[in-house]
């Protein structure tokens, strides 16, 4: 697996350890130790994935995440020491695709990174229509009335997963497996937060979704508008 990873973490020992592990997996690793220089380093190195610690000196991880997300849809995986609901949700809402709780096993981290880098391997030409949206799977674009909507790769994957089987109800667990690549139980809040983010971009009225519909007590499905 080839890819460039930007590690943003102030703990030097952990950063070095991460570099060792990721290099063993064949990834290129760039390291930044504080939040202030993270965005500049991101522009410099153009990584395929960002590994971001939440607690950083200078600018905190959430803010770094927001700034990177503002200019790119690059996959961002957060490293967090907290499992409190609020912390996790705020982290995800600032734009992270996934998160890993410290202390994590190296295999777990590698699996999360792989899942985020794996995409783009199957460029079969495929067009999907859901509601008033036209999805070009191979071209990674979503259009409404000919106007392209800007989705992150993760949001795109989520939408495609739902749109491929409209009317089928996906449980959060199934979505976690299909979109995030979790083989075992993951955090279903990931799904909730990203569905909200996706809705805010594709729905006419995110309060009354027509494209990604909640099925109470089960999960989500794609329904035509």
């Amino acid at each position: 697996m080839k890819g460039r990873v930007l590690v943003v973490d102030d703990d030097l020992a952990l950063s070095e350890m991460l570099s060792i592990v990721l290099r063993q997996e064949g990834l290129d690793v760039t390291h930044v130790a504080d939040g202030t220089s993270a965005v500049a380093a991101f522009r410099d190195s153009r990584p395929d994935l960002v590994l971001l610690d939440v607690m950083l000196p200078g600018m905190d991880g959430m803010e770094v995440c927001r700034r990177i997300r503002a200019e790119s849809g690059v996959p961002i995986v957060m490293l967090t020491a907290r499992t409190d609901t609020v912390d996790v949700v705020v982290g995800l809402e600032s734009g992270a695709d996934d998160y890993v709780v410290k202390p994590f096993k190296p295999q777990e981290l590698v699996a999360r990174i792989r899942a985020r880098l794996r995409r783009g391997d199957e460029p079969e030409p495929e067009r999907l229509d859901i509601g008033d949206l036209q999805i070009d799977v191979a071209g990674h674009s979503v259009k409404r009335d000919g106007r392209a909507l800007s989705l992150t790769p993760l949001e795109f994957d989520l939408l495609v997963a739902l749109a491929r089987k409209p009317w089928q109800v996906f449980t959060r667990e199934v979505l976690l497996e299909q979109v995030w690549g979790y083989r075992h139980a993951g955090d279903t809040r990931l799904v909730n937060v990203h569905v909200q983010r996706l809705r805010s971009k594709i729905e006419h009225d995110p309060e009354r979704p027509q494209i990604v519909v909640t099925v109470r007590g089960v999960g989500y499905k794609a329904g035509p508008a």
């Binding site: 350890m17 991460l18 020491a81 409190d84 609901t85 202390p103 994590f104 190296p106 667990e173 007590g217």
Partner: protein
């Protein structure tokens, strides 16, 4: 007929007056009150009564004002009736004095006239004379009536018919008075009787003064002077009217005064109540207004001091709790980062243990195993301190308990296979939906199931799910060593071990059930244990359908039905 003989006569008057004269006078004056009270319809009366009872219970002000008005009414009633009585007595007394004096002189005049009359040879002449004399002494202003009638004790053979001056005749003269007059020739007798007079709608109380008259031929005859007490009656009516209206005004004034006075007290008390309620609702900055130096001001001052103290205490506790939470969070972060590095290094070393000599390779294995334990312990400790700091929050969503159970069972299948246990799940086939925090409930269930597998000695594990109106429940039943009597209460204690002497072969942290219990409590749910040595144990988690609501009963029995015939709940 002498001045000294007047006193006993007056006594008769005063004793009989209460029975007849004033009795009828005061009756008419008091009549309006019962009438007015009796006007309401029963239903309206009932609702007004219940409203009054409610107001009486709720409002101190209403109670004070009502009580004061009642007492005022009572006092005014007593004083008023006493005064009324006295005025009535006085009026009648002075009329009596005046009437007896007048009657005495008129009788003397009449007697002198009869004596000076010489045409008294026959009764007709006497009658004619009597008629003229009576007409003379009755006067023309009709303020009195005079009746001349033969006494019952008279034995003379000459009889003259009663002579009257007006509409009052001898039948109106009470026998009692007549007897008294007949007994004593020298004394005036007085009595009050009610007589119907023309131009009056009801009986008119009249003062009757009686005395003996010595008539020529006819001898013992009574002369009676009847004085109508119309004027006195109307005076008393006016007085009672004044008393009543004055009484009403006074009672209203007393009520008004009581209202104003209680307002002065009740308003600050109500304010204090309001402020206390706001304080209780968490608005700790609420204070009372303290003005002046009176009792109420000191109440306000002490109240404020109390609020101040409470606020300080609460702030301190909040600060402590914040410091604690902050500390927990910091420790969490500070410990987790180096632990991550250690963990990754450990994994790396562990992965390449094949290249090491056996002792180092085994050390690498031990290192990894203990890192797992250390990590689990740290996670549980942090969770417990989060509960202790009150920082645990529910993230509730409506979920089907069957789905949660299936998910957890799925995750535990691997461990069960390793231990040789078979897990069976029985559910009612209908959704058991409740609003709960799935992550926490999953954790509780994982804990119960892993415990069941680890203590189940490879025997099957049964899980049952059910729901009723207010709650959903899941029971995890194993057939392992079970619990000894008294241990069901201890299993939820922190770091409790079934047998301290037993080797710690199982990997639990000793905090799992304590955390599970806290999670259940956070949902206002129940987590209960049952066990018998050799028969295994059973754990039941009951969750309310809506978080925070009271659970009436659990849909599943805690004790296995086949083994216990006791009440399933």
């Amino acid at each position: 007929m002498t001045g000294s003989s007047q006193l006993p006569g007056t006594d008769v008057a005063s004793s009989s007056r209460d029975d007849q004269g004033l009795g009828s006078l005061s009756e008419s004056a008091l009549a309006p009150i019962p009438e007015r009270l009796g006007q309401r319809t029963p239903e309206a009366g009932a609702s007004i009564v219940s409203r009054l009872v409610h107001a009486w219970r709720r409002s101190l002000q209403f109670r004070v004002v009502t009580t004061t008005m009642m007492l005022g009414m009572l006092v005014l009633g007593v004083v008023g009736s006493y005064l009324y009585q006295r005025i009535g007595d006085r009026l009648v007394q002075s009329r009596t004095d005046q009437a007896t004096a007048e009657a005495l002189s008129l009788t003397e005049l009449a007697q002198a006239r009869f004596y000076s009359t010489d045409k008294t040879q026959n009764t007709e002449a006497v009658t004619v004379a009597a008629q003229s004399i009576i007409a003379e002494i009755a006067g023309t202003e009709r303020s009195r009536y005079v009746v001349l009638a033969r006494l019952s004790t008279n034995v003379s053979s000459y009889v003259i018919n009663p002579v009257v001056s007006g509409e009052v005749n001898d039948s109106h003269i009470p026998d009692e008075l007549e007897t008294a007059v007949a007994e004593d020739p020298a004394v005036q007798k007085v009595q009050i009787v009610s007589i119907p007079l023309t131009g009056e709608s009801d009986l008119v109380p009249c003062l009757v003064v009686g005395q003996q008259l010595d008539l020529p031929l006819a001898r013992g005859t009574g002369i009676y002077y009847v004085y109508p007490l119309q004027r006195e009656r109307s005076s008393l009516a006016v007085i009672s009217q004044i008393f009543l209206s004055g009484g009403f005004v006074l009672v209203a004034l007393i009520g008004g005064v009581a209202y104003v006075v209680t307002r002065l007290v009740v308003t600050p008390v109500r304010q204090a109540t309001m402020v206390a309620e706001r304080l209780a609702a968490g608005r700790l900055t609420e204070r009372m207004v303290a003005r002046g130096e009176d009792d109420l001001a000191s109440l306000a001052t002490s109240f404020n001091a109390m609020a101040e103290g409470l606020q300080r205490q609460i702030r301190q506790l909040e600060d402590l709790s914040r410091v604690q939470q902050r500390f927990v969070s910091d420790v969490s972060h500070e410990l987790r980062t180096p632990l991550t590095t250690i963990r990754m290094a450990g994994e790396l070393i562990h992965d390449s243990r094949a290249q090491f000599e056996p002792a180092v390779a085994r050390s690498a294995e031990l290192l990894r195993g203990e890192l797992d334990r250390f990590e689990a312990l740290l996670a549980d400790l942090l969770e417990v301190s989060r509960f202790d700091a009150g920082a645990a929050v529910l993230d509730v969503e409506p979920t089907d308990l069957r789905r949660t159970v299936a998910k957890v069972v799925d995750g535990c299948q691997q461990l069960a296979e390793r231990k040789g246990s078979r897990i069976t799940v029985r559910d009612p086939g209908v959704p058991c939906e409740a609003a709960y925090d799935p992550r926490r409930v999953e954790r509780v269930l994982r804990n119960l199931i892993v415990n069941g597998i680890e203590h189940g000695e490879g025997k099957p594990l049964e899980i049952r799910v059910a729901g009723n109106d207010g709650a959903v429940a899941v029971v995890v039943r194993d057939h392992g060593v079970g619990l000894r009597p008294g241990e069901t209460g201890l299993v939820f204690n922190r770091f409790w071990r079934a047998d301290p002497a037993r080797a710690r072969t199982t990997g639990g942290t000793g905090l799992g059930l304590a955390i599970a219990l806290e999670d259940a409590r956070l949902h206002s749910g129940w987590l209960q244990a049952w066990g018998a040595p050799g028969e295994g144990s059973s754990f039941r988690l009951t969750l309310p359908r809506a978080p925070g609501t009271h659970i009436a009963s659990s849909p599943l029995p805690l004790k296995p039905m086949a083994e216990s015939l006791e009440d399933p709940t």
